[in-house]
């Protein structure tokens, strides 16, 4: 009942917003005089989610990377194009079998409580992160031990090669807090790191607003673009739109229906792509629905989907149609794979006939709030080729677990296009959470092992995994979504960070 209520509410909000779009499109705010200052001023970010705890052991990714980046440096810095660069670590190198990573550290860095950053601090942080069992604990699943070699060198031993390990060190697992503070009560509310900013308790209300001020004597002033950063937690999309248009925030994430209104008010889109959406054809062995065990049926499903139309109608064109689950900047991406399954209902029918389903076929699709339009279009398109989609509503409480519970042969979902190895571990590998029926083949296992032991070449080797799952139609991806980050161009500039929902704070700067 609650959900129906919200759906109605959402529909009304959208309707009212459209009606009001005309009158709200007033003149953009005057340039507030940041003309000659490339540094300084205040950056106000409209954050989608609240920070659960400032303990770096509880650090989170996605929308929550930004707030942790204010008080904490990571060992490795991730550039906008995804390249990993030095930050607190100056150099890092794997041993021959990729099970030990030796990291050289900066020697001129201190934490905001005065403690020195060194090899012991790295050891303390990595062990704390693993032990804290926080929201991204999985990032250090492969960590076995940390050895202090000397004051500015550590060797990190892994239980097995983990091609995404260095990527994780540029993310949640890489945030370094002052050793004394780790695991204390205080750090949950007051972060103590070596980062570019320090929290200002006077301007902070948990759950609502967090204020940070630039730290004096920060080791890398280039990363400190502002005097002050304020995070306003705005979970409601209408609130974010209003805050942006009225100038109360400088940058925030909107949904596709609000973008036109924001652009009309002089705001600028700074989009990149992080997520894809589409069907997971989970029952590849045909345990639940024998038809899906036939590769021709799975391919037919892929040919049956009119991706361009769905993108245009549902996403208002803000995205890119695709048939692969790896992102363009991931290294595992193969251009031609997007041509593998063009919209071709005739071919879909032919394949179904070949597989013996000429007289039709029924598949159950679980649906949940937010995918009503998608499921309606899929029902239509599937019907055109002779597949009956039976929709079954599932409650939102444990959506993800419900989807992979083994009750459904095929599900619709949204997924991050992350680092190739993260993708493989998350949705393709035999143990992957989204591999609900734990399907695999010796051929695929071999390709995955090659990536695991691939070292420097692992991303490229993941192209083979990509080819395998596309050719065998493990999924029916529909499109990649644009992350609709909107900024006030009179106040700031922003460079999107690849495969990240929001740009790193280092890539946001005052407008010239």
């Amino acid at each position: 009942m609650k959900f129906g209520h919200y759906t109605k509410a959402a529909a009304l909000v959208v309707g009212a917003s459209l009606v009001l779009a005309g009158c709200a499109a007033s003149a953009p705010a005057e340039n507030t005089g940041n003309t000659e200052a490339p540094r300084g001023g205040t950056l106000t970010i409209g954050a989608v989610q609240d920070v659960a705890s400032w303990d770096p052991g509880q650090a989170h990714v996605g929308h929550l990377l930004q707030p942790y980046q204010a008080p904490y440096d990571t060992l490795i810095l991730r550039e906008p194009d995804g390249k990993l660069s030095p930050m607190l670590a100056t150099e890092w190198e794997y041993n021959e079998d990729s099970t030990a990573l030796t990291v050289d550290l900066r020697t001129d860095v201190t934490f905001s409580d005065g403690a020195e950053f060194n090899a012991e601090a790295v050891k303390a942080n990595l062990e704390h992160f693993k032990g804290a069992n926080g929201r991204q604990a999985a990032q250090l699943s492969s960590l076995e031990s940390v050895e202090v070699v000397d004051a500015d060198t550590v060797t990190i031993n892994l239980a097995e090669p983990d091609p995404s390990f260095t990527y994780f060190l540029s993310q949640a697992a890489g945030f370094m807090g002052s050793p004394e503070s780790l695991g204390t009560e205080e750090i949950k509310q007051t972060p103590v790191g070596s980062g570019p900013y320090v929290i200002d308790p006077a301007g902070t209300t948990p759950g609502s607003q967090y204020t940070f001020t630039a730290r004096e004597d920060y080791w890398n002033p280039d990363l400190q673009k502002f005097d002050k950063i304020v995070f306003k937690v705005l979970t409601d999309a209408t609130a974010r739109l209003n805050a942006l248009i009225s100038g109360q925030v400088d940058i925030t994430l909107l949904d596709q229906r609000n973008v036109a209104q924001a652009e009309g008010a002089g705001k600028e889109l700074s989009a990149n792509q992080a997520d894809w959406t589409g069907l997971f054809l989970l029952d590849r062995d045909g345990k639940l629905n024998p038809a899906l065990g036939d590769v021709r049926v799975r391919q037919a499903i892929n040919f049956a989907i009119d991706r361009e139309t769905m993108l245009e109608e549902i996403q208002l064109g803000r995205g890119t149609a695709t048939t692969q689950v790896f992102g363009p900047k991931s290294g595992a991406y193969v251009d031609e794979l997007d041509e593998e399954y063009p919209y071709d209902p005739k071919k879909a029918k032919a394949l179904l006939k070949e597989a013996g389903y000429e007289s039709g076929l029924e598949i159950t699709l679980p649906v949940f709030t937010g995918i009503e339009a998608q499921s309606a279009m899929l029902v239509q398109q599937f019907a055109d080729v002779g597949i009956t989609l039976k929709l079954e509503t599932i409650p939102p409480a444990n959506l993800q677990s419900e989807l992979v519970s083994g009750k459904y042969a095929m599900v619709y979902f949204f997924q991050m296009q992350a680092d190739p190895w993260v993708n493989i571990k998350g949705i393709i590998g035999e143990a992957a959470f989204y591999n609900a029926f734990k399907t695999t083949t010796p051929e695929l296992e071999e390709l995955i092992e090659a990536v695991r032991f691939g070292g420097e070449d692992s991303a490229e080797l993941a192209q083979e995994v990509n080819k395998y799952v596309v050719e065998n139609a493990w999924f029916a991806p529909i499109y990649r979504l644009d992350q609709l980050v909107l900024i006030d161009p009179t106040k700031i500039t922003s460079t999107p960070t690849s495969q990240q929902a929001v740009p790193s704070i280092y890539n946001i700067a005052p407008a010239k």
């Binding site: 009212a16 920070v51 006077a202 209300t205 948990p206 444990n398 998350g426």
Partner: protein, 313 residues
């Protein structure tokens, strides 16, 4: 009066225990995968098991409930599973915002509705018709639609008020007033007409009574009859509506707090429910039930004071 109040309090406590247990049970059966929700898709089974043990999710329902209730009695509502605050901190930080919004709104609703309702009953004519039509419209338009219209005009177009709340630590009264104005107006417009309608009917009913004719025949002024006698007799009906509206507002402010980004309990409750933060949800439920009990008690006492018959029954 003492027995009356203590009887009411006792039934309040029973209600509190019953609702806590029911809510806990419902959450228990809906939130089975909370550890997975916290740790994400890539978490291993060991990590999930560890987290479940840490949160006590491996305990049976009764053990968990009595553990929670035992601490709650001593005033310890636990700590948010996702947040940095204790439940008590989280609620104490947000309660002032929600209560200010609700109390200011309901007081304004009471005053305006009483004046409108009485005017409609006494003068009849166009005022009466307007109030009746407005009651239907006011009921039909949801508060958040009004809120969005108000924001578009007065915050974005005219810039008189902030589009989202600027309430934070250490801000002055002016920030509170500026941030509260639009949401309060939205609530008042939404609620005033239906209570004015109730007061109108109650006053009309009293005006037809014999005592009014008697008072008039004794030459007592119309104004005194209205405000001293009729209003006192019509008040219980109005109070009941207002108390119901106040309780309804506890749910109604949820969406308003989201739209205006007010750091109140409603926004907290929505987020906690969405992510399955049971300690926070339980805290919100507990506080809400206590507020409802207090409001009902106060209304009963005021009614008893206005009309001694209520106390006896």
């Amino acid at each position: 009066m003492v027995t009356f109040v203590s009887r009411r309090l006792a039934s309040g406590v029973v209600m509190l225990v019953a609702i806590s247990f029911l809510t806990y049970t419902l959450l228990f059966f809906s939130g089975t995968n909370i550890a997975r929700n916290i740790l994400g898709d890539l978490a291993t089974e060991e990590q999930i098991a560890l987290k479940e043990a840490e949160l006590g999710l491996d305990q049976p329902l009764f053990a968990r409930f009595f553990g929670w209730a035992g601490s709650a009695i001593t005033g310890d509502l636990g700590r948010s599973w996702f947040g940095s605050e204790t439940v008590a901190q989280a609620l104490t930080n947000r309660l002032p915002v929600t209560l200010t919004l609700m109390i200011v709104s309901i007081v304004l609703v009471a005053i305006v509705a009483t004046l409108l309702g009485m005017a409609a009953a006494v003068k009849r004519g166009w005022i009466d018709r307007t109030v009746q039509v407005a009651a239907v419209i006011g009921d039909a338009i949801p508060g958040f639609v009004l809120a969005i219209i108000l924001v578009s005009i007065f915050a974005i177009q005219l810039g008189w008020f902030p589009a989202i709340s600027s309430i934070g630590p250490g801000v002055g009264a002016d920030a509170w007033i500026a941030s509260m104005t639009l949401p309060v107006i939205a609530i008042v417009i939404n609620y005033v007409t239906s209570s004015a309608q109730q007061i109108r009917s109650a006053v009309l009913k009293q005006l037809e009574r014999d005592y009014v004719r008697t008072l008039r025949s004794r030459g007592i002024g119309e104004r005194e009859i209205l405000f001293k006698h009729v209003l006192r007799s019509a008040a219980p009906a109005g109070l009941t509506v207002l108390s119901l509206q106040f309780v309804g507002l506890l749910g109604g402010v949820v969406i308003l707090e989201q739209i205006f980004a007010l750091p109140g309990m409603g926004a907290l409750a929505v987020n906690a429910t969405t992510i399955g933060d049971i300690p926070i949800v339980m805290g919100v439920v507990l506080y809400t039930v206590v507020i409802v009990i207090i409001v009902n008690l106060v209304v009963d006492i005021v009614n008893g004071w206005l009309n001694p018959k209520v106390r006896v029954s």
